[in-house]
Symmetry: C2
Subunit: 430 residues, 2 copies
């Protein structure tokens, strides 16, 4: 096969992932050629700033004009690693118009506008691959899109953001507060200078939207995902979780509603039992459970971010798209035929952990218990702690809807004996 | 797309997996049609014995003449679930000759003769897919063949046989001996009446051969896999493992040798630390670690066998092969370009746990330690237990080669103070 013409690949973005992609393309050139059936040639690298040393990338390949690069017309594959909605969207659609397949790791763009990207790819008969957009090196998009294509996925539950997992892991193991753990994550390079996208759950929510869309063959956008970050998690919450044999994780949960007529997608902190496999996912690792009707429960685990792991996912997609170029085929496009509505999580049924500051006097528990009973929220356990006229009550409920719990909490706030609701958190994974 | 002609599918074998495949093809017909882009039609089911009730499968589809079925000439996909080498091999190649793609779960045949099957598929321009051959529902073949196609896999380590894992799990948790645990596994349907293929490691070795071949782009056959079963594991071994914070698992380990010039593949019982994720793989579940240069360490976990989970893998492949039929494409074929030699495991370096029956008198430890030293096998820990003139010595070594350990054990047997070598076992996963 060595006589075949080289496939031309352009790289948009040359940060930690892009530079690894370029490095591996050079270092593993012979292997890639053998696996694809033709050599791949790096035809151009678009960067924001010229004049920066890019070890291993010849100067003449570097350009700051990404638009001109994708318009060359002789490209086989464009690898988009710029991130964000624009100019990435325009560059990708321009690449399609000029006949190139695209490999991207752009979760924000896919969660915002995946449908129009898929439509553009289909219109031009080229591939759109995006394994790197979700959970770094962990094969998740391909297993959901292809391996489970004959099954019915009912639930996707996992840890999809490494930064927040690192912070929560530190809070759990060292007893640190949120601010202190964030500081450590920033110092070690796990959190960006502006950590908003991670700690407020936007990053995990974008990934959840992508996974839910594939899993349920339905269009799910970032706005459809109920989202709550970890900024309000306290050392007290973590200690409280430990007392009931749990830890706190930022979970992404996409599932069919019990009637099967709609789906929900949510990202929020939750307490999970220490015996649950997700509880032992440490540092910046990711792990995802997929539950399907025939397959049962599958788990995928690995590094969820980082230059080299994400580059591995990009290169796997590059091989697939390149093979398709040679054979004239294309991979699966968007599958959204099911068109299920995305419901708000009000009707999601979980257990709850509620921490109340109450007056330390007789009868408080009776008042509180009465409020739960009035709202049909059944109590599993209550723990009282009191000193100096102040006391706390920690209630763990049986399964209840979000709506019932919200009404209960609202009523508790009205009680004269309740000084405040310190925290409410879902308990998952049981 | 609904006006497209139905794709015709024949099923060879209608046992626990085949009947689930047929059931799901009917129950999920609309979903499968939407995902493939055309309906799939069950065109025939070959069975060994006619006259058995097959709920959900119309009588007129049943035949005992599998050869005539695959020679029909109008089939798009043949699903082979008979198992074993013949007649499966002839039926699959006949299917290829008549233009059909094949989905199979036949690990024995692939490990014996995968190369000639792949060559036959390539010759006729049709697909050979086999996700179901390894680890049931767990996507493993596709991630290795496609997701990691741009990376360099260095090691595959895992639990690939559910029957032996169930037996070892029972021995660990209940303290039962091998025979008793096997009896329980048989009663519960986890072990077959003749459990040889499972307990002697043949099943895991066939899967290891398949995975090693894909991972290292090299031909690996069943005979290349060093194989040792679990029949000699005793309750004493399990107790001994527990004393050093370990449990015993039947592991499949495929890896590159340190010089990168060859690969090894082996299946044998090994002690692994209780803190290792594989130690908590219970009952008949499977789990596999894949280590790749860029991706780092990935883990895949799920049900490794069973009718429905294996059917999920078969149907995922069916969707892929069916999509290819519509687009005129075909998936990746055999990739064996690396042609690395498969080395025997003599040079594999691991720690060892050795249990000796020795005379209970002064100086024994000195004699034993001298033998280890003579063979350059460094001792990590020694534990002595003695009573009534009999004693045992349990030695855990630092990392040593299989060859060095074998020579040491041979020399120990010659010592007058050593009554016998009760067991030797590798210690992995550290």
């Amino acid at each position: 096969m060595s006589e075949r013409r080289p496939l031309k690949v352009a790289l948009l973005g040359c940060g930690s992932v892009g530079s690894e992609v370029a490095r591996i393309m050079t270092a593993n050139a012979a292997d890639l050629a053998a696996r694809i059936g033709a050599p791949v040639e790096l035809a151009g690298v678009a960067v924001r700033r010229a004049g920066v040393a890019r070890p291993g990338i010849p100067d003449e390949l570097i350009t700051t004009d990404a638009t001109a690069l994708v318009k060359r017309g002789d490209l086989d594959v464009v690898i988009e690693l710029i991130g964000g909605v624009e100019p990435a969207r325009t560059l990708i659609t321009t690449a399609f118009e000029h006949g190139a397949g695209v490999v991207t790791g752009n979760k924000a763009l896919l969660a915002e506008d995946g449908t129009s990207l898929h439509a553009a790819a289909a219109r031009h008969g080229v591939d759109l691959y995006y394994e790197a957009a979700v959970a770094g090196a962990i094969p998740l998009v391909r297993p959901l899109r292809e391996s489970l294509a004959g099954d019915k996925v009912n639930r996707v539950l996992g840890i999809l953001n490494g930064t927040t997992n690192f912070i929560l892991d530190r809070m759990e193991t060292s007893g640190a507060g949120y601010a202190e753990a964030l500081e450590e994550a920033t110092a070690l390079g796990y959190a960006e200078a502006d950590p908003t996208a991670d700690v407020e759950g936007y990053d995990a929510a974008a990934k959840a939207a992508i996974l839910a869309g594939i899993a349920f063959h339905t269009r799910v956008r970032l706005d459809d995902v109920h989202r709550q970050g970890i900024t309000e998690i306290t050392a007290a919450d973590m200690a409280s979780a430990a007392r009931i044999g749990c830890t706190v994780k930022l979970l992404a949960i996409c599932e069919r509603t019990p009637d099967g007529k709609s789906v929900t997608a949510r990202v929020h902190p939750a307490m999970i039992p220490l015996t649950h496999p997700l509880a032992s996912v440490r540092e910046a690792y990711n792990a995802v459970f997929v539950e399907a009707s025939a397959a049962g429960q599958l788990m995928f685990y690995g590094p969820g971010a980082g230059g080299a792991p994400t580059a591995s996912a990009v290169l796997g997609d590059l091989v697939a798209v390149a093979r398709h170029r040679l054979s004239g085929a294309s991979g699966p496009g968007e599958s959204a035929y099911a068109q299920l509505p995305v419901a708000p999580p009000d009707e999601v049924v979980t257990r709850y952990h509620i921490s109340l500051d109450v007056a330390d006097r007789a009868g408080v528990l009776a008042h509180v218990a009465a409020v739960f009973a009035e709202h049909d929220v059944s109590i599993d356990t209550v723990r009282q702690q009191g000193k100096d006229g102040e006391a706390s009550l920690v209630v763990v409920t049986h399964r209840a809807t979000d709506a019932a719990l919200a009404a209960t909490v609202e009523a508790l706030r009205q009680l004269e004996t309740v000084r405040g609701v310190a925290s409410t958190m879902r308990v998952e994974g049981e």
